[in-house]
Symmetry: C2
Subunit: 629 residues, 2 copies
C-alpha cells in the first residue's frame, strides 16, 4: 500500500527562530521562569531523587509509577531550549538528570523507579492502569530531543536499550506479552525513536501497539485475571476510557480520556503516514471529523468532563464545568500537526492555531510560574492557576511545547515551502536540495499584515504555500509591491514561480472583530456569541467591568472596536464596545422578575484574550456572552 | 417571651374536600395507583417484612437503617386518605402494618428493625449518619395522622412509648446523651405528637434537639471518637451538610442537604411559634430570606447539587444538572406552610404555591406509578421517571403530600378565615366558635376566576382573607355581584363585614402569560426567560417541537397565547406562539459559525406545564428559553 501522502515535513525547532511579540516573550519566560520552576518542583517533590533508587520500604514518598515522566518532559523542554538558546548551566543540569536516568536503568534495560524499588516483582503486571509504557514514551521523547539538540547520545542510548527491552517483552510473537499501555504515548515516541535512529524495529513496535489495542480476547481482561483482579472492577468502567474498547481502525468516535486519546491518534497518524496505511489514516480522519464537528471548544480545549478527564456525548460543551485539560489541548496540537503534514490541508492548521493561541497558553500564567490543569470557558471567580499539582503533567508539557514551538510554523515538501503560522522570525529550510531562508515580519496575531522575505543563494522554482486562515474572510497578497494572485489549494495560497533572493511577499489578512455562534445543539451557548479576532478568542474578566461580566448582553448591532493596548497584560489588542447589563436597581432583593421589569442599562465592555485571563485581580470570567438581535 | 404570633391554624385535611380539575384527579390517582404501588414496592423490597424481626446473620437483604421510614410515610398517606375517602381494604392493610410496627417494638419502647436484629448492640452510636431518630420522626408522623384520621390509638401508643424512650436517652439532663439526628425530622414530628397528645415533654424534647444542634464540643466529634472513628473522616466533610456546623439560632445561610435543612427549619418554625421564641423565629426568617433571594428555582425546587443533595453558593441554579429533589420541594412546602401560619404573610403562601404547582407534582407521573427523585429544569432527553429507588424517600413523600393537600388550602384565625390557595371544593372551619363553610368554585390554576360562597348557620362578623398571589398584577373582587374594595394586608385582600349565609364573593385574578427573568447572577439563565401563567411554570418538550427545544429563541415581542387543551396531558392550558430557531441549513457540519451566518427561522412553540413533562415521548426539555429583545 502506498504511503497516503506524508510529503510535508515540519522544519525542526532548531531551524526556526521566533522574534515576535506574542511568542518570543513567552519563550523567554518559559526559559527563565517555567523551566527552572518545573525543575525545582521536580526536585522538591522527590521526582528527581526517586531515580537514585535509594528508597526502601518504610521510607516516605515512594517513587511514583509515572511521576518520572514529568522529569522526562523537563529534559525534553531543556533540550529544545538548548538548541535555540545555548545555556551552559542548563546543559549541565540536564546532563546530571540524564546521568540519574542512566544510573536507574537495570541490567536488562528496564527503567522505572517505582517498579524497581517499590514493587520489584510486579513489572508489566498492570498495563491498564500503571503507565510504565507511558513513562517510557516520555523518556524516549526526551532522549530524541536531547540527542537532536545537543548531539549527545547518552540518554538516547539508554532509551534505545529500554526500547529494545520493551520490544523483547511485547509483540505479536509467540512468548511475548500482547499488551499495550492504558495511557498512550509510547506509540508516538517510538516513531520519533525510529526517525532518530533509523531502526525499523521501533516503528514496528509502535505499529504493534496501535494494531493490538482493543482486540479480543481483551488483554486487560486477561491481565486483570492474571493479577487475581476481577476485570469488572475496572475503575473507569469501560475500556473506551483508554480508547481500547474496539480496535483503533474501527473507531469513529472520539472517546475517553482526552490526553490518552490524542496522544494515541497522534501515534496513529504517524504510523499511517510512515507505513502508508490508508485504513489507519481513514480512522484518523473520522476521529478528526467527530472532534471538529461535535467536541471541540472554541478555545481549542477538548475533553469537557472532569469525571473521565475526557469526552462525553456530542455537543456536550459546558463552559463553567469545562475540564479542557491543558495537556489535552497540547495533545490536540500534536495530532493536528501530524495530520497537517499528511494531508497538507489548512483545516488542520486552523485547529492547531486555535489551540496554540487560546487553550494551550491559557495553561500558564504570564509570569510563567502558575498553571491551569483545567481550562474552563467561564468562571464564577473561584478558578485560579496553581504553582504545581500532585499529578503535574501540565506544567512540563507547556514548557516543552513552548520550547519547541518553532517546529509548528513551517513545513518543507518536494517543490514547496509551507507557512502554517504567522510568527515573526526566521526559518531555514531545504527544498529540493536547495537551502532557503524565510524572514517573517509581522505583528500577528494582533495584526494581519505579514511580510515574508526570501533569501536564496540562487534563484529557485518552488511553491510558496501561505495559509489563509479559516477565520479570515478577506486576504490580499503582493509580490515585490505588486498585487499577485494565486490559487487556493486546501486553504493555502499557492505562489508558484522562480524565486530570487530578496523577493518580498506581503500578505494581508483582514482581522475584524468577529462574533461567533456555536451550533444550536451546544446547550450552554444557545443565544450567545463569543468574540474572536484573528486566531484570538476573547473573554470578559470581572476586573475590567463594573457590571457582572456573566450578565452582559451584547446587541448584534453594537460596534466593537479593536485597539492596541501595550500596557495591558504584556501588550494586547483589546476589544471594547457598548453593550447592555442588568440595571441593579430593577432587582433589589428579587430572585425572579417579570422580564419586562428586568431592565438593561448601557455599559462598556472590554474584552481581553482568553489565554490571558486570571493574570490580574481574581474574578468572574466568561467567553460566551448573551446576544440580542 | 410572648409567642411571636402563631394565630393561624390550618384547617385539617379531613375538613377540606377537593373537587377541582388539577388536584382531584391527582388525589384519585394517588389513592388508586401511587399508594398501592408504594405499598407493593415496600412489600417486594422487604421493607415491610423487615419489621417481623426474623432476619438472621447470613440472610439476604438485612433490615436497612432507615427504609422503614418509607413504610411510615405510606401509613401516613393511607391515614390522610382514609379520613377523606374511607376504604375498608386500605384500613385493614394499614392496621396490619401497624401491627407489625407494634410487634417490632422492644420492651423498653425502642423501635428500629436494623438496630434490633442487625446491629443489636449499636443503638444510638452513630446519630450523625444512621437516621434512627429520622425514622422515629416519620413513624410519629404516621401515628399522629392515623390517630387523627381513624381515632385508633394503637400506633400512637406505640410511638408515644418510643418517644418516651427517646426522651429517656436524649436531653440536657445529667446522664443523658446530648445527641441529635444527622437527618432532621424528629423535631417537627415531636411537635405533632405534642399537639396530638398535649404532652409537653414531647415539645420540650423537640426543642432540645433544635437547641443542641451545632453546639460545641460537637456531639458528632465525641460520638465518632467513642465509636473509634476519626471525626475528620466524615464523608460529608463538614457538619453544615446536616445544618450542625453552628447552633441553629446563629444560622443565616441555607446550607447542606436540602431535605434535612427544610425538615429542620420546619421544626424550628413550629417550636418558635409554640414557645414564643423570637430569636428562633428570627433565624427562620433569615434562612427564608437567603432561600428566596438566592437559592430557589422558579419551579420551587431547592438544592441544586447532586454532590450533597443540597445547597451550594448563592445564585448557583444550574438547569440541566439541577438536583432539586422531590422531597426537598415537599420540605419547602412544609416550612413555607408553617411560616405562613406564624406570619400570616402571603409571601410564604406564594412560595408554597410555587412548589405545589411545579416542583412537587413533577415528582410523580400522570399515571401515578413513576417518580422523579431529581427534578432538573432542562434535559438533553435522558432524564426519566423510575418506578422505584434504592433510597425511595420520594414516592411515599409525594403520596402523603397529595393525600393531605387539603390542609394547605385554608387557615382559621381569631376573627378571620384565610384562603391561601384557590382549589375548587368545600371547607368547614370554626372561627370564634362559629362554624362556617366555604364553597370554592374555580378552574384554578387554569383560570383566575374564583367564586366563594359562604354557608353560615347565622350571620357572623369576620375577616375573609383572600390571597392575592404574588404573580398577579391585577385583581378584582365582587360581593354578591357588586364591586367590593378591601385593604391588602400582607398580600391578603381583607373583606371585613358581617357575613350572611349565601354571601358570594367573586375574585378575579388576571392570568396572562408572563415572561420571567432570573437575577443576572444566575449564570445559567442570563439572556433567558421562563414562561409562567398564574402559578404554573411552563416548559418546552421536544415532542411538541420540530426545532430542538433548547435552541429556541423567543423574541420579547412575540405574542403568546394561552389556550385550553382538554385532551392533552389530562387537560391543561397550553401556551403557543411564534418564536425563532436556528436554520439547520446554515450549520451543515459546522460546530462554530460567524454569528451573522447563524440565521434563525420562524417556528411555533407549544409550552406545557413543567410539572407534566416526561409523560409523553421521551426527549429534550427546557424551562428557560433564550430571549431576544
Amino acid at each position: 500500500m502506498k504511503a497516503p501522502s506524508a510529503e510535508l515535513r515540519p522544519l525542526a525547532w532548531k531551524d526556526v527562530t521566533i522574534e515576535d511579540r506574542f511568542w518570543a516573550p513567552r519563550q523567554k519566560t518559559n526559559r527563565e521562569v517555567t523551566m527552572p520552576h518545573v525543575y525545582r518542583m521536580c526536585k522538591e517533590t522527590g521526582r528527581i531523587d526517586a531515580l537514585r533508587l535509594q528508597w526502601k520500604a518504610g521510607d516516605p514518598n515512594p517513587p511514583h509509577i509515572f511521576r518520572e515522566s514529568d522529569v522526562g518532559k523537563w529534559v525534553e523542554a531543556a533540550a529544545y531550549s538548548l538548541a535555540t538558546h545555548p545555556d551552559d548551566q542548563l546543559d549541565k543540569l540536564a546532563d546530571e538528570v540524564i546521568d540519574l536516568f542512566a544510573g536507574a536503568q537495570q541490567g536488562d534495560g528496564y527503567l522505572n523507579a517505582h517498579y524497581t524499588v517499590v514493587e520489584p516483582g510486579r513489572r508489566w503486571t498492570n498495563l491498564r492502569d500503571c503507565h510504565e509504557l507511558y513513562c517510557a514514551g516520555h523518556l524516549i521523547e526526551a532522549a530524541v530531543a536531547h540527542f537532536q539538540a545537543t548531539g549527545k547520545r547518552k540518554l538516547l542510548d539508554v532509551l534505545c536499550r529500554y526500547a529494545d527491552h520493551i520490544d523483547s517483552v511485547f509483540g505479536p510473537e509467540e512468548g511475548k506479552k500482547r499488551g499495550y499501555c492504558g495511557h498512550e504515548e509510547i506509540e508516538l515516541a517510538l516513531v520519533k525513536l525510529y526517525r532518530a535512529t533509523g531502526n525499523g524495529r521501533y516503528l514496528k513496535l509502535g505499529k504493534y501497539f496501535i494494531d493490538e489495542r482493543g482486540r479480543q480476547p481483551h488483554y486487560y481482561d486477561l491481565e486483570a485475571a492474571q493479577r487475581g483482579d476481577d476485570p469488572k472492577r475496572y475503575s473507569a468502567k469501560d475500556y473506551s476510557y483508554s480508547q481500547a474498547h474496539i480496535p483503533l481502525r474501527q473507531q469513529s468516535e472520539v472517546v475517553g480520556h482526552a490526553v490518552r486519546a490524542f496522544y494515541c491518534y497522534s501515534g496513529m497518524a504517524d504510523i499511517a503516514a510512515l507505513t502508508g496505511d490508508a485504513e489507519l489514516l481513514s480512522a484518523c480522519k473520522r476521529l478528526w471529523k467527530d472532534l471538529t464537528r461535535h467536541k471541540l471548544y472554541i478555545t481549542g480545549g477538548i475533553g469537557p468532563s472532569k469525571h473521565n478527564e475526557g469526552f462525553t456525548e456530542q455537543y456536550d460543551l459546558p463552559n463553567q464545568s469545562a475540564y479542557a485539560e491543558t495537556c489535552a489541548a497540547i495533545a490536540l496540537v500534536f495530532f493536528a500537526h501530524r495530520m497537517l503534514q499528511v494531508e497538507a490541508d489548512a483545516r488542520y492548521a486552523d485547529v492547531m492555531e486555535q489551540a496554540l493561541y487560546n487553550g494551550v497558553p491559557s495553561g500558564v500564567s504570564l509570569d510563567g510560574a502558575k498553571f491551569f490543569y483545567v481550562n474552563p470557558l467561564a468562571s464564577a471567580g473561584g478558578h485560579h492557576r496553581q504553582d504545581w499539582f500532585g499529578c503535574a503533567c501540565c506544567p512540563p508539557n507547556v514548557a516543552r511545547l513552548l520550547a519547541s514551538l518553532g517546529s509548528y510554523v513551517y513545513s518543507a515538501a518536494p517543490g514547496a515551502a509551507y507557512v502554517h503560522l504567522y510568527v515573526a522570525g526566521k526559518a531555514t529550510a531545504t527544498v529540493d536540495g536547495q537551502e532557503l531562508t524565510l524572514l517573517q515580519e509581522t505583528d500577528y496575531p494582533w495584526d494581519g499584515d505579514v511580510k515574508i522575505t526570501l533569501r536564496l543563494p540562487r534563484a529557485a522554482k518552488l511553491d510558496l504555500m501561505l495559509r489563509v486562515p479559516g477565520w479570515c474572510r478577506q486576504h490580499k497578497a503582493t509580490l515585490n509591491g505588486k498585487p499577485v494572485a494565486g490559487a487556493i489549494a486546501k486553504g493555502y495560497l499557492r505562489l508558484r514561480r522562480e524565486w530570487k533572493d530578496g523577493d518580498v511577499v506581503k500578505l494581508s489578512l483582514a482581522m475584524p472583530v468577529e462574533r461567533v455562534a456555536a451550533h444550536p445543539s451546544v446547550a450552554d451557548d444557545v443565544g450567545k456569541v463569543a468574540l474572536q479576532r484573528g486566531p484570538i478568542v476573547y473573554c470578559l474578566e470581572q476586573c475590567d467591568s463594573a457590571a457582572p461580566v456573566r450578565s452582559v448582553v451584547l446587541p448584534d448591532k453594537a460596534k466593537l472596536t479593536a485597539r492596541r493596548n501595550g500596557r495591558k497584560l504584556g501588550g494586547i489588542v483589546e476589544i471594547t464596545g457598548p453593550a447592555l447589563a442588568p440595571a441593579p436597581k430593577a432587582w433589589k432583593s428579587a430572585l425572579y422578575l417579570r422580564a419586562d421589569q428586568a431592565r438593561l442599562r448601557p455599559v462598556t465592555i472590554k474584552a481581553v484574550p482568553y489565554c490571558l485571563w486570571d493574570n490580574r485581580r481574581p474574578g468572574a470570567m466568561t467567553v460566551w456572552l448573551a446576544r440580542t438581535r
